[in-house]
């Protein structure tokens, strides 16, 4: 456990360090740049209000659920997330240019899309993913395995 309790300069540094991936991930999840910017602001204002916090993992894995929940809230409010399969909440394809890959990714269950995005788009380590999603490491490995089987024909 590590205590995250920086001063003003430390909070500003944390924002600069994490800003780009937070907003980019929010865009990937929602497919909407305005929503992504709203999520960025909400997440950091929430973080500043929460400190000090005890981190069981990295700050990234601590921020991840906050990002995801806010993206889901935005998607519900907008109600314009195109159902990729069934009636899922998040697009997970914001900014993906390759149409073939988008379709391939869309066929995965959402929990597999989530894990593969964290691993390969954000370079989260497996234990970071487990901490971020509050699931066992074995479940992370299993989801990643099945996702890779589908994505690497």
């Amino acid at each position: 456990m590590a205590r995250f309790d920086p001063d003003a300069a430390g909070l500003a540094a944390a924002y600069r360090e994490h800003r780009d991936w937070v907003v980019a991930l929010a865009y990937r999840m929602t497919g909407d740049r305005d929503d992504a910017l709203d999520v960025l602001q909400d997440v950091f204002l929430w973080l500043f209000g929460r400190v000090p916090v005890e981190l069981t993992g990295t700050l990234r894995s601590f921020l991840y659920p906050a990002i995801k929940h806010r993206c889901i809230d935005r998607a519900r409010r907008r109600r314009k997330v195109v159902p990729l399969r069934g009636d899922l909440e998040l697009a997970w394809d914001g900014g993906l240019e390759d149409g073939d890959f988008r379709r391939l990714l869309a066929r995965l269950p959402e929990e597999q899309r989530e894990v593969v995005t964290l691993r390969f788009a954000l370079d989260f380590q497996l234990d970071e993913i487990a901490a971020a999603l509050a699931i066992p490491l074995g479940t992370v490995k299993s989801r990643l395995h099945y996702a890779l089987v589908a994505l690497r024909p």
């Binding site: 780009d20 910017l37 400190v51 929940h69």
Partner: protein, 121 residues
């Protein structure tokens, strides 16, 4: 050694950069400065405020379980979280439902009920 296929996946899944307008940066950085500034109150003033707040807390705060019994059926379960979520969506909330005491009745309060429901402690 990195698998070549991993590199392909990294490229395919790479996130798109989202430019952040300077006014948003400024707003967030300003909030960072104000948040820490608030915590530098003189110790005595902070102590007096805490004492007063504590007195009010014990005088008026409903028991946590009572506050979470949103539908007043004598028990706290998922139906309370559901009822509160619907009230939040409809904009028809009551101050007593500000369960996390952040000055708002919103999904965070709903999440608080859900967290308590499934907690094994």
């Amino acid at each position: 050694m990195t698998d070549e296929r991993d590199v392909d996946l990294q490229r395919a899944l790479a996130l798109s950069a989202v430019p952040v307008p300077p006014e948003i940066d400024a707003r967030i950085l300003d909030a960072a400065g104000r948040r820490r500034a608030r915590r530098r109150w003189p110790l005595a003033a902070a102590g007096a405020l805490m004492a007063a707040a504590t007195a009010l807390f014990f005088a008026f705060r409903p028991a946590p379980a009572q506050a979470r019994d949103v539908n007043h059926d004598g028990r706290v379960d998922v139906l309370d979280a559901y009822r509160l979520a619907r009230a939040v969506e409809a904009g028809e909330t009551a101050p007593r439902w500000d369960l996390n005491r952040d000055g708002r009745v919103d999904r965070a309060d709903v999440d608080g009920i859900m967290t308590a429901l499934v907690s094994l402690q």
